[in-house]
Amino acid sequence: MSEKELARKSVEYRRKILKYIYQAKAGHTGGSLSCIDILNVLYNHVLNVDSADFSSPDRDRYIQSKGHTVEALYVVLASKGFFPESDLETLCTYQSHYIGHPTRKVRGVEQNTGALGHGLSLSVGTAIAGKLDKKDYRVFTLLGDGELPEGSNWEAALSAAHYKLDNLCAIIDKNSLQISGATSDVCNTDPVDAKFEAFGWAVRHVDGHDFEQLKAAFDAIPFEKGKPSLVIAHTIKGKGVSYMESQLKWHHGVPSEEQYSDALQELGVAEESLA
C-alpha cells in the first residue's frame, strides 16, 4: 500500500474510531488517534496475518500492550475482515464481546490485555517459542509511553535481550501524555532510547504519523541481528482532530454531538486533500 493509500486509510480509521466512541459514549479517544497510523502500517504493510487463516502457527503476532486504545485495534481488525464492522455497534454494551480492552473473544486479538505492563512479557514468551520452533514469524507489541514505569516492562526488556530476540519488535507510542498529565511530569522515562539500548536493544526513532518513516523502520527490522528492535514512534495524542491534539482531556474524552460533527468535517477536509 502506498503512503497516500495508507493516509486515506487512516482518515477512514479515524472516522470510525470517533464514530464508535461517540456511539458507545466511552473509549480512549486520544490514544487511539495517536497509535492508529502505526496500526495502519502494521496491518496493511508489515504483518503476515490473514483473517481467513488466523490460527496459522506461522503468522506474525501483534500484541497490544496499551490495551486501552482498543478502538483503534477493533476498527483495523474489522477492516481486515476478522469480523463484520457492524459488530462494533455493540461496543461496550450489555453482553457484547467488544469490551473496552482487547479480548480474545474478538477474532484477531492475540491476547487479553488492558492491565499495563503485560504485553512485552507475553511477546517475549511468544518470540522465544518462535526461536525454539525455528519459525520465521515475528512478534510485535505496542506499548504506551505512560505504561513504561510498570516494572514488568523492564523485566521483559532484560529477557528479550538475554535471549537475543531479533524476532521481536516493540513499538512505543510516544504521545507524551497520560491520564494525569505530561509523561515527563508524571514519571519521566527519558531518555528512553538510551535505557533500552543499555538493556541490549537496537532502537530507532520515527515520526509515528509519517508512513514513509514507519514503513522504512519496519522494513529494516531486525535493526541488528541478535537484538530485539524498538521503534520509538513520536506521536500526537488526538492526532487528526485539531481540538483534540495534545489536549489531556481527550485521553478518554467522548465528543459531544457538535464536537463529533466538527471532527468529521475536519477529517473530510483531510480526505479531500488526499484525493
Binding site: Q111, A115, H118, L122, V124, G125, A129, S152, S159
Partner: protein, 321 residues
Amino acid sequence: MEATIENIALKHQANLEVFSQTLQTLAEHDRDIIVVTSDSRGSGKLVPFGQKFPDQIVEVGIAEQNLVGVSAGLASAGKKVFAVSPACFLTARALEQIKNDVAYSDNPVKLIGISAGVSYGALGSTHHSLHDFAVLRTINNLLIVAPADNFETEQAIRLAAEADFPVYLRFGKKVMELLSEDEKTFEFGKGRIVREGADLTIIATGETVAPALQAAEKLEKESGLSATVVSMHTIKPLDYNLLDEIALSGKPILTVEEHSIYGGLGEACASYLLQAGHRNAFKIIAIPDEYTVTGSQQEIFTHYGISEAGIAATAHKLCQG
C-alpha cells in the same frame, strides 16, 4: 479426566523431586515441554532437567511477573509450559499476570508453586504462602491442586502436561510417604478416600494429609473413633459429590490445611456444605490469622495443631459435641 498409574517406583521422596523426575520422563518424548524458572531451578529440583534438556528450560532470573507473562506467551504458541517459582512469590507478586495473562487470556500455563505453605519454616512470612488458595480461588479459569504424596504428584504432573487449561499445582519440600498401597487412579476434581471410617471425616490437602492419617490411627487406637480420611487434592473445582456423600452420614467433618484459616479448603467446604443444606458439626484446622510463630515446618504445624496429636485432639472434641 482420569489417569492410571504407570510408574509407582517413586516413593518416599519430596513431592518436588517426583515433580522434577516426572517432567524429565515426559520431556524425553515431548519437545514441547518447557520449564520456565526464576532463578528457581535449584529449589525446584530442576538442575538435572536443565542439564538434560537445555533447550527446554527458559530462565528469566528473579522476575516473577516476567516469569508468568513469558510462560503465557510460550503457551499461546503451543508449548506445554511449567512455570516454576516459590509459591509465596509466584502467587503474590505475579498475581496480576496469573489473573490476566494465564487465566483470563486462557493460556494453559501450569503454575508450579514450590516450597508452599510454611515449607520454608523459620525463613518467615515473606517466604510462606498461606494466601494462595484464597486468592487463586477467586480467579476464573484456574484449577488448583495440592497433591498429598508422590503418587498424586506424579499423576497430577502427567495430567497437567496434557491439560489444555491453566492449572496451579502446589508442592512442599517434605519427604512424603505413600498414603496407601493400592493407589491406582487419580483424577482432577475427585477427592481420594485414603482411609475409611464410621465416626467422622477428616478432609485434608497437600502435606497435611499425612498427619491427618496418623491422627486417624491414633484416634482409633486411643478413643475407639474411626475416621474417614480424604485427600482433597483439588481445591477448585471442589468435589461437591464427595462432600455430599460425606455429609449425608451426619457425622462430624474436620478440615486440615497448610494455609490461612481464611479462604482455603476449610472455608470452601463450609460454604458448600451450608448452602447445600448440610448441618454436620464442622471445624477448620489451619494457620490462624496472626504473625506466624517462628519454627520449622513441623514446629509450626505442631504449634497450630496440624499434627498427629493436634488433629486427633480436635477431632475427639468435635465428636464429643
